[in-house]
Amino acid sequence: MSDIIGSDRQQRSPESGGEKPPEQDEPRPIKLVMTLALGGLISGLGIVGVYEATLSTITEYRAQELRAAVFKVLPGVTQMQELAQESDQLVAVVNEEGEESRDNTIYGGYDEERNFVGYAIPGEGPGFQDTIKLLYGYLPTANKVVGMEVLQSRETPGLGDKIYKDLVFVGAFSDLPIEPTIEVVKKGRKVSDNQVDAITGATISSRAVVKIINDTNSTWLENLPTPGNEPPMQDNNSEAENVIQ
């Protein structure tokens, strides 16, 4: 590698860095700028073309993935919409095609009769190796967590990755009261409902998951409307085209 760079430099430096700053006095600066501009234009066109061509597929895939996750953490839900906190009120958000979800959003899950079921709340926090991103389902009426799905993590394979591979651990979040907070205990020492058995050998990762949920709860729960006053399902929002079980 270094020899490539070296030769490159040897050839380049006598002409004194002509490639970037066009205002520098060059033999034919106009031509250089023109070439670059032309190159940029062509490549831009190519990129925009591919982007436009693939955009719909990609957006659809992302939406589908999100829906799948939401439906997974909120059993019994068949429709969803994005909700965001705006001026002390939770309102439904409509995204343009291709627009990314904003930070400050959660998802409302609704059943087939468009009745509100629960929230799917994304949370993230430091794990053992890197940030863990997850989504969990929360039923405000029962004040329970009813499902948890890890969206992204780099936990140790074989140990930390059990937070999404170990069905017992994931299953512990399917019916979990969060009053006052969720606690992690050593395997087999669970005494009350709001406790979760830690994964043997991956205590830190187990705790990280629970901590993320507790922290996210503490920021969201008090801002949620009282049960029954949730924003209704909007018509123009994307409906579940195919229910994922």
Partner: protein
């Protein structure tokens, strides 16, 4: 969102760019035969990373929300021109520093850790301050890895390393052992003690 300290420790030690993300391996293996050179290259990279983080933030805020597809091309152009500008500026302002750093600056352009920094920082949704801290940690982490490897390599020059393994194979294995040692930092300050 992580705390600033967490971001710093994370990019410095836990997720060291070289030893866990494999970014910047080329200079890591290529230039690390001399301690002083490695140190200088590390610092130069750190500096470029900081500047890149700044530029990337500007791009993210003002350009990429309208044209996300230009992300890669704008990053790479910005990095290349940043390096070029820095090179010229140093040449003008401090010829001595230029002589010391000059040969490394073009190397930095092809250092994927710079581009990696911009992309990772974007993917993690870091804001301005977080991005800068992330860049600082990543740059210093790169420097640490470079300097450690250079120290070890200079020492192996005096040993009877078997001929078959000399060179890249040896450096990779040293890097592997270093990477194993850095696994000790996993979970640092992020555990809920």
């Amino acid at each position: 969102m992580d705390s600033l300290g967490g971001i710093f420790i994370g990019s410095l030690l836990i997720n060291n760019f070289v030893l866990t993300y494999f970014l910047g391996i080329c200079p890591f293996l290529g230039v690390s035969n001399n301690l002083l050179t490695s140190f200088r290259l590390g610092l130069a990279t750190t500096f470029v990373m900081l500047v890149t983080a700044l530029c990337a933030w500007v791009l993210n805020t003002y350009l990429l929300i309208y044209a996300p597809y230009l992300q890669l091309i704008s990053y790479i152009v910005v990095i290349a021109s940043t390096v070029q500008f820095i090179e010229m500026a140093i040449k003008k302002l401090s010829p001595a520093l230029f002589r010391a750093l000059g040969i490394f600056l073009p190397l930095i352009t092809t250092n994927c850790s710079i581009l990696g920094l911009a992309i990772f920082s974007f993917n993690r949704g870091y804001g301005f301050l977080e991005g800068m801290v992330y860049a600082l940690g990543a740059g210093l982490g790169f420097t640490i890895a470079m300097v450690l490897l250079a120290g070890l390599r200079e020492e192996t020059e005096l040993s009877d390393v078997p001929a078959l393994i000399q060179g890249t194979a040896m450096n990779l294995i040293i890097a592997g052992i270093l990477s194993m040692a850095f696994m000790g930092f996993a979970g640092l300050f992020s555990s809920t003690v």
